[in-house]
């Protein structure tokens, strides 16, 4: 996928000014977050489940190499071919070779975020194959030629009118504002693609090490079609997606759909192991898994290690006030919202996504909902700190932080600056006691006023309070340390 994370501020301005988008986003509030809440009401002890989820994912990462090798051995035993790719480009090349060797013409895809990382569709199209996205959201975006704006609801930024206009243009069907009719139309359009495809490409929500299986979680059934009907199936997924056992999968599946869409379970959970049985009438004859690194292994053991626990539920973005206002495209790469603010700089390099870790109020709503307890705000702070120490912030920001540091280390000067600073601000405010502009901070004051400080500084108040208390309970300040001790004993 094209990287536009460097232009975050420009993206945001564009997204905020886009009235249609803003109206689509305003619908967002009541959706997934409310459904999650309603689902959790029925759950006995969700916190215990989150503990379990976090510890399963943390333990996997501790032995990631072992579990990957175990997965590889078991998958191969069942006839699945396992490939390893260091980068997205390498993954595309591997997939292209598989397709060429098998004489593939038509490819159907179910949702795979890793294939968005690698920009797979373009590569296959350039090689002369037809690629059809079959997840309804992804299909809409393929028609619109847009990237996804959410990891589980890729076309969440589109209204029914926009979808209907796209369908009119591409299918030649009359316009409708009836959502079920639109879904029906997509079903009719996509069915022939499933039946005609030579190759199905899917993601993999989880890899099961002890059985060598790929697990796919879907609602529409397209994931089942893509992995059942074509003669070749390739799953493309990140190396961190392993779970040791089917029991671990059972536990994680209690967390994922509830956190994502508020469902107790998704419609389909498919555990795919190996190739078509001898004599069987369905299933792929060739089955491949491409394990993609693309920046993940670098995070292990480092201060962003915990981000690899992510199970891609989307809860952090569903609950993020920043995401809800700017939409997923502003983040400029595959993963938006709080987890994107961490993964984008982590995978692509901090210099490619300088504004992303700053795009948060650190309100911690994401951390509260994350099913595997990733400390998202802490990780954003880590990245902010890195930006500063690596000199990646603008000079005036670095200078002000220096200044702040110096003041904080010199209490006398700090008190002085605070006392005169508040007076200055008070003087600058109008009769309404509000500051409408602040020199150098107009970005902040554009959208809000700052109330001028009232009364005395905290330090002045504190000193007075102490002095007042001293009058009530006199402490002899002239006593020597030993006398003081004695006095306390009394």
């Amino acid at each position: 996928m094209k990287i536009r994370s460097e232009q975050f501020k420009g993206n945001v301005r564009k997204q905020l000014a886009d009235e249609a988008l803003q109206s689509n986003l305003s619908r967002f509030g009541g959706g997934f977050a409310d459904r999650r809440r309603d689902a959790l009401v029925k759950v006995d002890d969700f916190e215990a489940l989150r503990d379990r989820g976090a510890s399963i994912r943390a333990e996997v990462l501790e032995n990631l190499d072992y579990w990957l090798l175990k997965f590889e051995a078991e998958a191969q035993r069942r006839g699945t071919q396992v490939h390893w790719a260091e980068t997205g480009a390498e993954a595309n090349q591997i997939l292209l070779n598989i397709a060429r060797n098998a004489g593939v013409q038509r490819v159907v895809k179910s949702k795979s975020m890793v294939s968005e990382e690698s920009g797979l569709n373009e590569v296959l199209t350039e090689a002369g194959m037809t690629v059809t996205e079959t997840d309804l959201g992804e299909y809409i975006l393929q028609l619109a030629n847009e990237p996804p704006s959410h990891i589980i609801a890729p076309a969440i930024h589109k209204s029914r009118d926009e979808v209907s206009a796209l369908f009119e243009k591409h299918h030649g069907t009359p316009r409708t504002d009836d959502i079920p009719s639109l879904c029906e139309e997509a079903r009719g359009q996509l069915r022939p693609h499933f039946l005609a495809a030579d190759m199905g490409v899917s993601g993999g929500n989880f890899l099961i090490a002890e059985t060598g299986s790929v697990t796919i979680v879907t609602n529409e059934g397209n994931g089942r079609m893509v992995t059942t009907l074509p003669r070749v199936h390739v799953a493309m997924t990140g190396i961190e997606k392993v779970l040791p056992t089917l029991e671990d999968l059972s536990a994680i599946l209690r967390l994922l759909p509830r956190s994502a869409t508020g469902q107790d379970i998704t419609n389909y959970v498919s555990i795919l192991t190996g190739v078509r049985d001898e004599g069987a009438m369905d299933g792929p004859q060739e089955n491949h898994v491409i394990l993609v690194d693309n920046g993940r292994s670098r995070l292990l053991g480092g201060d962003l290690h915990d981000a690899l626990r992510c199970i891609r539920c989307g809860a952090c973005m569903n609950h993020c006030p920043v995401y809800q206002n700017i939409g997923g495209h502003a983040y400029g790469w595959v993963y938006p919202g709080p987890i994107g603010a961490i993964l984008t700089p982590a995978f692509l390099g901090l210099e490619k996504a300088l504004d992303l870790p700053q795009a948060s109020t650190l309100c911690a709503a994401c951390e509260v909902v994350c099913p595997v307890r990733i400390p998202l705000p802490d990780l954003m702070r880590v990245l902010r700190e890195k930006e500063l120490t690596q000199g990646l912030r603008p000079w005036h920001e670095r200078l002000s932080i220096r200044l702040w540091r110096w003041l904080a280390l010199h209490p006398g000067w700090y008190a002085f600056a605070a006392r005169w600073g508040t007076r200055l601000l008070r003087g600058m405010a109008g009769s309404d006691r509000l500051l409408h502009t602040l020199p150098g901070l107009d970005g902040w004051t554009q959208g809000r006023d700052m109330p001028a400080p009232q009364g005395e500084t905290f330090r002045d108040q504190w000193r007075k309070k102490q002095a007042a208390e001293r009058k009530i309970i006199p402490i002899r300040l002239d006593s020597s340390p030993s006398e003081k001790k004695a006095g306390l004993k009394k």
Binding site: K42, L64, M225, S250, N267, D282
Partner: protein, 207 residues
């Protein structure tokens, strides 16, 4: 060095140790259920229905064709079906049904399957692939009728896996957990039943 070696090398470097020779299978206590089951059958039915499956119950397998006919009548659906070969022995004809034991084509409108087991925690069906268990029967037709023996109900997913392990030689190519008719919420987060898979899932409990 291959990509595989380089990736594994970075993993080892990050974790600051060589790859362990063996790691014990995690012996975790059973994970808590999200929604405990107090009554296998009742909870299964209630939760399956909450996922828009419909449920009927009959006393024994021979009563299944009549129950199917009744359902099709009520839904106004044609009395023609593709079935799993294991269901061939049932007397479909007397209930006015044609039942063909073959994998479905896209035009087939009704698929009838057996069910490996049912999971009460979520009202879920477990079906697996096999030579006689076409995965497409529960996928391509717009209506899926699943026959499930009441004594094949378990509380939770872990038990379903244990059952597979004790009864099957190995994990089948496809293990599908099915929880109601297919659906999408990709347009304006509005839930619409009947995406690419079946629009109706009807469960006939036997026993």
């Amino acid at each position: 060095m291959s990509a595989r070696d380089r990736i594994l090398e970075r993993v080892r470097a990050g974790l600051k140790r060589p790859t362990p020779v063996s790691v014990a299978r995690p012996e975790r206590s059973l994970a808590p259920m999200a929604r405990p089951v107090s009554h296998l059958l009742n909870d299964f039915i209630a939760r399956a229905e909450s996922l828009q499956s419909t449920v009927a119950q009959v006393a024994d397998l021979n009563a299944v064709p009549a129950a199917v006919a009744e359902y099709l009548q009520a839904q106004g659906l044609p009395r023609k079906s593709v079935i799993w070969p294991s269901l061939k022995a049932l007397d479909w004809f007397s209930s006015g049904l044609t039942a063909e034991a073959r994998p479905p084509v896209s035009e087939d409108r009704l698929g009838i399957t057996e069910t490996f087991c049912g999971i009460a925690e979520t009202g879920t069906l477990l079906l697996h692939s096999g030579v006689d268990h076409f995965s497409t029967t529960s996928l391509l037709p717009e209506t899926h009728i699943a026959i499930l023996r009441v004594d094949r109900l378990v509380e939770r997913m872990e038990q379903a896996f244990a059952l597979m392990q004790s009864e099957l030689d190995q994990l089948p190519r496809a293990t599908n957990f099915i929880s109601g008719p297919s659906r999408t919420a990709d347009i304006e987060q509005t839930i619409v039943i009947g995406a690419h898979g079946p629009r109706r899932v009807h469960i006939i409990l036997v026993g």
